[in-house]
Amino acid sequence: MKGIRTGPVIPVLGLALGIAAGVLLDPSVPTSLQPYLPIAVVAALDAVFGGIRARLDHVFDAKVFVVSFVSNVIVAGLIVFLGDQLGVGAQLSTAVIVVLGIRIFGNTAAIRRHLFRA
């Protein structure tokens, strides 16, 4: 496998296939999981922007990306689930969104500096 360049082909292709699958298959999500999906998407976005920044910083590592994505989604879901059980689900969702939002902002700012040198 050595010698194959990991360009943006894999991520772009993966994303495109995923979007196509989501549109074409239109999978129905169990009702019990529905409240966690938006949180999962925000956690995934955090991992994606972290990955892009790492790539621009020349420290990208696919394994780290996978681990950070999976753990982000799971931990965010668990926090919100725990919050729901304790009756503070809405507040903890907000907390998760705020923290992930700050990270996304920080990473996009770093990406912007890389791309536009400003």
């Binding site: 050595k2 990991t6 993966g14 699958a21 938006p38 972290g50 910083d57 950070s68 770093a110």
Partner: protein
Amino acid sequence: MTQTDPESMLKRLLNDTLDPGYEEAAKRRAGSSDPPAQAGGWRARLAFALCLLLIGALSTVVIAQVRSSAPQREELRQALIEDIAAQRAAGDLLAARLVEVRDEATHAREELLTATSKGQEALDELDRAESNAGLTQVRGPGVAVTLTDAPPPEDGGDNLGRILDRDIQSVVNELWAAGAEAIAIDGQRLGPRTSIRSAGQAILVDFRPVTNPYLIEAIGPAGMFDDLLESSAGRTLASYVSAFGLGLDVVQAQQLDLPPGTGSSITLAQPAQRFGILGSAAGRRHSAWREER
């Protein structure tokens, strides 16, 4: 920046937005010969591609779901509103039909009973019972009380001058206490089993909504006017008028026309004599109570 710095957590949150895993992985790789782009091997790259696949699918599904649920909710709301309107119309129709049928029954009864003196007696008793139960249309002098919500506050806060169910209850109670013989709220006659309560923001009289301004008409002695204004409920409401700006208007009326109540059938409560309760302890207490009067 040290761990003991009280602002360190916030600073780290704001500045160290990159997953520290990347840094560490880069350090680990520093010694090895793998170029960064290929670090992790093909399995990591496959997992990476799968993750992105998942992210794409996840985002699409969530967006599709949020989009489809918004109009659904609006549709559901609209359907419920239509249901309410339809059921209310059906209820009105049935109430009108009830009045009609009751009129027919009354006429038929009168025709049959006026023939004999015994029948005439029974008819008189029935008429008394019906008017006591608020089932007949009545006319007479009395007072009309109008309660009006205060205008909503400009700052958009809670309107403390909104009329509540207990304001209407207190006025009605004072009117009964002052000798009112028949009361109607917004044209809804109060019977022995009528409730006045709120459900959310709405006030229900006999389970039907009444709306601002609330008109309470009562037939009764002329003294009701002063009795109501001097009662504790009247004074409390008057103080609300100056404090919260709600409207309270009481006028004497020479002639009020109050509609008949819809009434409701009683199925469980039987007249006591039928069970011989008068011989029981409760019955003896009841007779003693009657003798006192």
